[in-house]
């Protein structure tokens, strides 16, 4: 049984900047536990002769030549920004006073 704790969910939520309520922590801990359990069953099936796979296609070395392609205009790039200033993306304060 892999087991995921409420504390681990809280930690992940913090890393992901998600604000979760107390009941959500319990709820997700339970759900994530089920998901991890399901994924773990793959390990039971995969024997030594099955290598871990991160890509489903048997491809390597997909590369492009070092040739410049058109970029977006600054206006296009910024069109989805919630806020902008001086042709830059404006983001809230990163660090507090302390």
């Amino acid at each position: 049984m892999p087991g995921i704790t409420r504390e681990e969910v809280a930690h992940l939520a913090r890393l992901s900047r998600l604000e979760l309520k107390a009941e959500e922590l319990d709820h997700f801990a339970e759900q994530l536990d089920v998901i991890i359990g399901a994924v773990a069953r793959v390990s039971d099936v995969a024997a030594e002769d099955v290598p871990p796979t991160s890509h489903p296609l048997p491809l390597t070395n997909v590369m492009r030549p070092d040739e410049v392609r058109p970029s977006l205009t600054p206006q296009e790039a910024l069109s989805g920004a919630p806020a902008q200033e001086q042709q830059r993306f404006k983001v809230p304060q990163i660090l507090g006073e302390d």
Partner: protein
């Protein structure tokens, strides 16, 4: 923030053995970013070199830049590394606005190059081998501007502005194994390593590696352990130490700070630290444990890189002579001391002098002009030697004019002045400014006669055998001809006219 009383460097080294780990990031000089075709050209207006991929927009897909991979392999080979047969990219997840994707595409446990070394030469000629753990491919972040705080610091800023032109530019991160046994020379070794790495990167042509432009950046990990101990102490990581001098200073400062904490019974906190150029100190940044939860996993959008052995061997064959080997060869060819060669290197004059010699100058003349007159000019104008508007071919031509007696050093300096001022090729400057050395006897004869007439007492001394006094008359002739006389010929004429054997 705690203010630390430092322990003197000597006392620190009497008790402790420093252990270093250096992480250097090199921005590659490719035309495009690592995973998209956006230009990497410097100086573009903000957010004019971005696309859905480097902005992390949904649905966009990265494709690896072949030139980035090739550069990484070249760097690995030059560092005597093994090149991975197969390796993957990984996502390094973190939540910070300098990366719009909220992860940096990097490599985790499968770097493209690993297990190498770089031999560095210290000032006194000693060779110190720095072992390389790995060199891996990743991408640079965007550039933040912090608004509303004091002098652009992130602390106290009300908000920040992001320019993503730099986000996605290829970086190679080169990590050393723990460097032990350097003892009191640790700061010098750190500096020499970064300097040698910079030369190496430049010689490969994969980056200009200009630290002042942020094209090469160094993080210094340092810990101390009691002499004779076999377990490393807790380390600090001083980030963004961005000049050779700063690498040396930061290492030295951290040795003294760690020693102070440890000898007073304290413990070193594993943290990142910021280096301050103004006073050479470091201050606490973030606590490392909290920040290090990167949740790496294989990048699903990029397939593995498996460099064919034939390609790797072809790149190995194309490697240039290593900078240290080349420097030693040139040093012997030029017949200069270790110390002089170091000065030439520091001045950025090695390539220029070599090219000047190739253009026909002898090595003494090439060194003399680049390290003398031209170094002085570059220094005055605050530019790199290579940025002066004079070519090695022009320097060689001026040296040739001096060698064949058409110019003396004084006139040659005026020719340099003309060339640097954009007045044309050396011969044109000589022509336009009328700088030909006068060695024609009839033209000089009058000036010599006048000098003898005006300095009768000196002339008598010379007649009486005091040949050394001729210098004063030569000086008078040089003055009268505004320095354009051939001094050696003037001296001969004076002695001839006074009937004395030289």
């Amino acid at each position: 923030m705690t203010v630390t009383e430092l322990v003197s460097y000597e006392d620190a080294l009497a008790t402790f053995e420093p252990v270093m780990g250096l992480e250097v990031h090199v921005e590659l000089g490719t035309k495009t970013k690592m995973f998209c075709g956006c230009s990497t050209a410097l100086g573009a207006e903000p957010n004019s070199q971005t696309c859905p991929t480097c902005l992390g927009l949904p649905g966009s897909l990265p494709v690896v830049n072949a030139a980035g991979v090739e550069s990484a392999i070249k760097i690995g080979l030059a560092l005597h590394c093994e090149i991975a047969e197969w390796c993957r990219f990984a996502r390094k997840n973190y939540f910070y606005p300098d990366m719009p994707k909220n992860f940096q595409t990097s490599q985790y446990d499968e770097p493209i190059a690993f297990n190498g070394y770089l031999d560095v030469q210290l000032e006194d000629g000693e060779i110190f081998r720095v072992e390389i753990e790995r060199a891996h491919m990743e991408e640079d972040t965007g550039k933040s501007t912090h608004v509303g705080g004091a002098t652009g610091r992130i602390h106290g800023a009300s908000h920040s502005l992001l320019d993503y032109n730099r986000a996605g530019i290829p970086l190679i991160e080169i990590v050393t194994k723990p460097i032990t046994g350097a003892g009191e020379r640790a700061p010098e070794v750190a500096k020499a390593y970064v300097a040698e790495l910079r030369e190496l990167i430049r010689s490969l042509g994969v980056s200009e590696a200009r630290m002042e432009m942020g094209q090469m950046r160094c993080d210094v990990n340092l810990s101390l352990m009691p002499k004779g101990a076999d377990r490393f102490g807790t380390r600090s990581e001083t980030k963004n130490v961005n000049s050779l001098r700063s690498v040396e200073r930061a290492t030295r400062y951290e040795i003294m700070r760690h020693a102070a904490v440890l000898t007073s019974g304290g413990t070193i906190v594993q943290e990142t630290r910021h280096f301050h150029e103004d006073d050479g100190s470091t201050t606490s940044g973030r606590i490392k444990e909290e920040a290090e939860d990167y949740r790496y996993f294989p990048e699903p959008d990029l397939v593995p890189v498996a460099p064919a052995r034939a390609w790797v061997e072809e790149l190995r064959k194309g490697l240039p002579e290593l900078p240290r080997v080349r420097r030693n060869r040139l040093r012997e060819e030029w017949g200069v001391s270790q110390h002089d060669m170091q000065s030439i290197l520091n001045a950025g004059a090695v390539d220029l002098i070599e090219a000047t010699i190739e253009a026909g100058a002898d090595s003494a003349a090439a060194r003399k002009w680049w390290m003398g007159e031209l170094a002085r000019r570059a220094n005055e104008e605050g530019v790199a030697l290579s940025a002066l508007p004079v070519t090695p071919a022009q320097v060689a031509r001026i040296a040739a004019l001096v060698a064949d007696g058409s110019l003396n050093d004084k006139l040659a300096r005026q020719v340099f002045e003309g060339v640097l001022a954009g007045e044309g090729e050396p011969d044109e400057v000589v022509e336009k400014r009328g700088l030909k050395l006068v060695s024609d006897d009839s033209a000089l004869g009058t000036a010599v006669d006048e000098a003898i007439a005006a300095n009768a007492a000196i002339a008598d001394k010379i007649r009486g055998g005091k040949v050394a006094a001729a210098g004063a008359l030569v000086g008078a002739v040089m003055k009268a001809t505004r320095g354009q006389a051939d001094a050696a010929r003037v001296r001969e004429l004076i002695l001839e006219k006074l009937g004395v054997e030289g």
